[in-house]
Symmetry: C2
């Protein structure tokens, strides 16, 4: 039943990805090695499919975790927010961050309460977030962030002016030190419980879906990059 | 566009909830006070609607954040996992944790890239996680966790035996120090961009939906507590 508690397990030793992740001791998954996926492509896909990350920093010796948007360009994860934001002020000092992105794909109903679980995909990234400086570089980061949140919006909407760029802190985090963990498939019950056969076992899938666009503008048709997002 | 970056902000001074949250300096939302919701009921509803939290701890001076399941009973949040899990071993020593639960409700498309945002509900809880001891208390925690993940499963499936209870660490976290932040509604564009009226603005809602149950057991009908979950 625990999700990625203890997600951190030896990465798949049989991985043959051409651009493998580079786990260090802390990002090496210690439990559930069969769930570990070492390929960088999997990390990218997982990040690209998400909208929100959970950004963790240490503030005054205590942990702080906040949800925030992000965007990915190659092996760089961009994070941003108002320059007044506590978490970004902290990270701007060059301290370490830990970032998690998680997708829940279903509830795994087992014959025993103990083996209840979730199907999920999660990525945990460790690194030092650095503040992006220079208007051109910041604007690039903002473009990546905007296009992640709302693909097509960078060209469709008004792009940031100098004041807006200045008012935003953009952080860059290298994706080198990362661990990906997934669980798929049905329950893994004990033999005795399978033999007893007294409880339903299976998966209840969960997915996120887009609703109908809710326009604020009266006479502009919903553009294709928004109307088409639901696929 | 930033989500709850800097989510941490004066709680609603007009709150009249009978059981208000008790924000401290670090859990007091400093930005976007109008988004802060101080009522404890809102916290409970937000937690009850989620499946996964992000549990942050400090390990060797560095932040660690991992997704994990949880359950709520009154003002106690239960967390658990294998006793071998890194995050729970750390928390079991009585150090501080920070836990976030986030729901993304939609993408806010603005006339300017800068004002793009998300509609969301998020809770951030600070506290010291304590290890639940005693078989009865642990079993209660496991029941809360199971019923959160899979309502109805505690009675339907085989309940944990002594060995399983012993193999699981159950943590309890008090919900006293918590902050809730939400964003709802359409975009908040600058007047000039509204006047220009050149880009679509509105909200693309996002929601999670249950799929059809995928049975592993051949001849047991999907029980009502599972079949009825989709509402």
């Amino acid at each position: 039943m625990p999700l990625a508690c203890g997600s951190v397990v030896a990465v798949n030793p049989n991985s043959t990805g051409t651009a493998p992740l580079s786990p260090t001791e802390r990002s090496t998954i210690r439990r559930g090695a069969k769930r570990a996926v070492a390929e960088r492509d999997a990390l990218w896909a997982l990040l690209d499919a998400g909208l929100v990350c959970h950004l963790s920093t240490v503030v005054g010796g205590a942990p702080l975790v906040l949800p925030t948007g992000y965007g990915r360009d190659g092996d760089t994860l961009y994070l941003h927010g108002s320059t007044g934001a506590l978490s970004l002020r902290t990270a701007a000092q060059g301290i370490e961050v830990c970032v998690a992105v998680t997708h829940v794909d279903g509830i795994v109903y087992s014959r025993s309460a103990f083996h209840h679980s979730m199907n999920y995909r999660s990525a945990v990234i460790h690194g030092t977030a650095v503040v992006v400086t220079g208007a051109e570089q910041k604007t690039h980061g903002l473009r990546v962030l905007t296009e992640h949140l709302a693909p097509g919006s960078w060209e469709h909407s008004r792009q940031p002016n100098k004041k807006e760029v200045a008012a935003t802190t953009v952080l860059a985090l290298d994706l080198t030190e990362a661990a990906v963990k997934t669980r798929t498939g049905g329950p893994n019950d004990d033999e005795e419980d399978i033999a007893a056969d007294t409880a339903w076992a299976g998966v209840l899938p969960l997915r996120t879906v887009w609703g109908e666009p809710e326009p604020q503008t009266a006479h502009i048709a919903v553009p294709p990059h928004i109307a088409g997002r639901a696929g």
